[in-house]
Symmetry: D3
């Protein structure tokens, strides 16, 4: 059992799911986000409001931690300046503070959008080259390369989890391949925490879907074994899905709607529109 | 649900298995073959006799179709002239008519014999180079390359299913690795039809056999998940199997007896002889 | 020195270049084409008019030959029926007659258009998958697979030379990468003839151009070492070249204009138009 | 059913586990080891004491055998001279006697230590280059290359099983990935015996562990399907595991403690010390 | 001939070398840097002082340009904040302004330090994964991924030149492999400008050194053919070189001294110290 | 300049060629072999008779050496017992003595016969798997794996030079691809000595032949650039060469006659017979 884990982005959708599972893996869980406070703190949980783009604030949060689970960033496409501060500078401060405070490992919420322009008919493994689809995806590429640097030069371990579509349920045809269920997210983060050594690693954050378009074999040693399968939702989802167009990057690329969304503008609206198109 | 699917080779052994499952996936199923008629038509099924080597006949059948499932061809080694007409010219007419009629996708019964000369100790994936074992296999190579051409130049999608040993049961040692059960054939064709976008794809048509010698990972996005396993037949089959010879291509190559059958002559007799050799 | 070599397509542009060099490699050179006769026969050259789509005619020509150099086919995109007879049936008859007459090796004029839809920013080697750009290219794919079959099943060797732009000089920007000079063509065919064993081999037919976009390393044992370089023509050619469009397959794919020419229609006119576009 | 199988190393820990399963696969099982005798012989089992470094002794044991299962060797790091006699000369005599006596196949207990210096964050398949971690591992590399030679030159088949941590239970964190259960060992040897043709093959000897760090896909045709999973022991084992150090080859390499043990000295003591370190 | 080229970093060491060659490739050369002015302007050269981290300033410079040659950035390891502003924000503004102003291509001074932590005994090609050795190298990774994004989403071409050791002469043993002569730099930039289509490309900026440790084959279509060879300096350089240590990343990694320099501190002093160590 | 180099096999054909070049690279050259003495010692050369299978004798020779150039072994196929003592035990003693005496690097005469069973139509690089053709080749595999072990565990560098056909001239058709001229041998050994760091490296020992069937790119950093080309001998050699048979391993495999010579018997006689077969 670890002494202390830090969770960034604890007030976010995914971060919120991780508080209890992480609290069970350590003596002290420190959660942090921009919000002033967090409801329903767990017995061994402490919340500290912090701006991740400010190194001094992050330094304070990290003190004495064994590992940091870094989910604190903008989670959708956004204007460049916002991505720069939140996701690029924010990544730097997290790894730098981790180094200065002797934190051993960063478990990082990377994203499929780091490689979203690859066609989904190309079954890719974790060595596929960076091919971002948005500023958001570009910031994930940056953080992965930063993680590589801190491992090679400073011995800080990182597990970069390229999370696909982490939703409560499956709501569009693309998600039949890309869904990451909430329980599988928890399994993934748990594996990333408990694996004895990880070095610099990349792993796809995706459930055991029949239509999964990526290969997690190279991360096998992490022991992440998803148990949910989007296919149980296939009849409902396909019945209402719009026809797809193989010439359209939205329908052909791993990044889905992010592959066509204009840079700097949100892909969320497009995803929503898409789901009800039929 | 699709409006119209065309099934060629509907009077054949495998084609016959597909009539009911395909009828369930569309409003109108048009079946075709050389035979004058077909017994036991399904409520939404229409049968049209046609010679696939005649473009005008194929044009008529394809009108208004969304997809065509192309099983109409000689299914064994045969003299060159027969293969040329039936399998090479026949493939051209199917893809060309599909293009002219606005058909979106061809689901094609390709074959392991397109790559049958690879040794089975070489675990091959769907990118292994063409290495046909017969004129029959050569015609499958041709059709796959044709499919690639129609996708790159004209945007017609294709799923080339390299079917192995599709039999009701497992009758020889080779089939412990190569068996495709009838239910798994139906699963495969269903996946090839229902996957939203496929581009030009190749997938192995083989069940979930313990001894499967090919890698289907690159076709993962199609969601084909076989459920049968030839291994349940292993005790019976191995008890009566002849000793094998690792220096004999029949016993060492993916193509099995096709790897040694003289070009232009039937491999079927050899397969049958083999099964009872012990 | 070989006893007898057969050259098909001897009346064609490239075939004509090969008569003298081949005559120097054997005691008897038999040249053949559709034309009734050939002017200026060399001392050890015999000409026989023959239709390569007729097996019996080809059988006569091949009798007693050691090797056949097969250049007799349509050399541009053409309607399907023409390609079928000339390039597909014609390839079958050549390899089949070679087998029946005990010919040891087929040296074959394949083409870059067998793989013309690959982007030229992808440096490809001789194992790149077939990706034809035209019916013409498709027929080259067919013949290569046929050559593989005759090697694996019958021990006939083949050298498939994927000839690029074999012209007297360099006349457009694409050719700065793709040019095969006439002297280098002769070097290539000579290497394919004189190499002691070749099995089934593929080699790019391209000069030592600075901008060569393909990798011939896997054919290194053939000893083909081109000596010409299109770059000496770069100043002239680039000065008059039209601006290119990276989104246009014509400008981005290995196949050049063949990557955009409509199937069944000649690409030659387009190439000519292109050269003077500026 | 085979006529005769020979099992070397029958008095050893793993060899002992194989006597009954092998006896069920043949009419006559001949077991051999250095010990003068073996207790509890099975009805169709004959024991012959033999020194595997003496060719004449091995020749006698092999007479009339169909296959030999070769487990007779030092199973831990040892001084060079001991490894040389037992594992290198011993391998030569086994393959040479197999050849002289017409034995068809050698099923060989190779080891993960043939490739133990690869980092375990590198998911390796059976084509990973030799990278031994000890003299012991070096002797396994030697025997694998010897097996390749006897297949290529003399047609003797071999299945080189790279056994990981074959123990009754899971006793340290490394074994969560590397465990080979006793029942899975028996499944593996049975597959290696009963597969009709194997040529020269390599297969990982590891259970179906969640954290398995190697890829057995290329040996798929052998039909080895492990059924045990070390993960059921994870809570107990991780609770008492020492913290690991990603900079330490012991914790980072496939070979585990063998990756740091001094050459020529036993790694067993280090493994034991490690297990109780927490 | 292009209408207008923009050169950033024109007051720098390498930028200065490029002014005349670029001026010869276009009607109008606009040079820019932080300095207030530039001496010895060429007849068709205009200098505009600009801060590349300010989008509006860059927008003005880019107006009407066909291509931009981007050398304007910190060229050594530096503190994070400096790298962030100059190399990361500066890259964003250059590509964004290029997009907004309709510039077709960015020719970018990337660096070997984007992959500097690979061992030099690993011969790497342009697909080797990012493995930066410094914040400087990390910023080059960022810009390459940005270039990939602008190509995939917006059709802006980029040639990322991973420049090695661009010096007037060869002054240390490492440079025997890594030297890029000044004339070869000019050849490289000229090729990157004049190649008709480039898409998103990566090319090593290194001379034709005997000891070159990287593979430029995949960039072959660019036609960059270096003509200088550091080996002529080998006798002098090796005579005064310090002994190297294969366990030291400085001596074993592509990045050389950057592989050991502390993050954020200059590697230049270390390189100089190294050169005279013997 | 190195202080002391040891050369084993100094009385052999190749060893003799290396005495003068090595003497020029160090202050003291110690040569050794089984012979009692060596004629014409160079000024800085000392000869010590030693049996390489005796560790104590090797220890004496190695004292104080910086590097050892290890050519002392049987250089042809021979009976197993002879290969075992001379080439396997002899390799162990050389690396072990090197370790104990603080020698930094072993430059080793490995051989193409470590991979001789690969077909020569497969262009192989230095990562091709071991595929020995003889006991001789097997001993080279062993020494390479030993070299890998001593590098990974003990930091001893090795350059394994896989020497092809090192002869004064080119005497048979195979050698057109495989020749290593004497001057190129010296260039190769010099590069292996003078490269600052090598780790564990493999390099093909072959001249710059037009028909070279192996890829030395991965050893590029060593700076070995051969200057001779067997092709100048092609007219003479091919004129007298026997016809080759592509089904014969002797004519189709990298190992040439070693690919067919019976194990344990000399391949030299076969090579000689072959050269005059025509």
């Amino acid at each position: 059992m670890l002494n202390k884990i830090v969770l960034t982005g604890a007030a976010g959708k995914l971060g919120g799911l991780l508080r209890a599972p992480l609290a069970a893996l350590c003596r002290e869980l420190v959660t942090t986000d921009l919000a002033p406070g967090l409801a329903n703190l767990l017995p061994n949980e402490t919340y500290v409001a912090a701006d991740l783009s400010q190194l001094d604030q992050v330094m304070g949060v990290m003190e004495g931690a064994d590992m940091v689970v870094h989910f604190g960033a903008i989670g959708d496409e956004a204007p460049w300046d916002a991505i720069l501060q939140s996701n690029i500078v924010g990544a730097y401060t997290v790894w730098e503070a981790a180094y200065r405070q002797g934190v051993r490992r960063v478990v990082y919420a990377s994203s499929i959008h780091a490689v979203g322009m690859h066609p989904k008919t190309d079954f890719i493994d974790t060595t596929a080259r960076h091919r971002p689809d948005t500023y958001y995806g570009l910031s994930k590429c940056f953080a992965e390369d930063l993680a590589s640097l801190y491992w090679d030069k400073r011995g800080i371990e990182s597990v970069c989890m390229r999370i696909y579509s982490c939703e409560e349920s499956v709501n569009n045809a693309r998600a039949l391949g890309t869904w990451l269920s909430h329980p599988d997210l928890i399994r993934l983060v748990t594996a990333a925490i408990t694996t004895p050594t990880t070095g610099f690693s990349i792993v796809w954050g995706v459930s055991a879907n029949d239509r999964v378009p990526v290969d997690n074999a190279r991360a096998s040693f992490l022991g992440y074994r998803p148990q949910d399968n989007a296919e149980v939702h296939a009849p409902r989802v396909l019945a209402q899905a719009a026809a797809m167009d193989p010439q359209n990057p939205e329908d052909m690329c791993h990044g889905g709607p992010f592959a066509v969304v204009p840079l700097g503008e949100s892909g969320v609206a497009m995803i929503k529109a898409r789901s009800v198109k039929a």
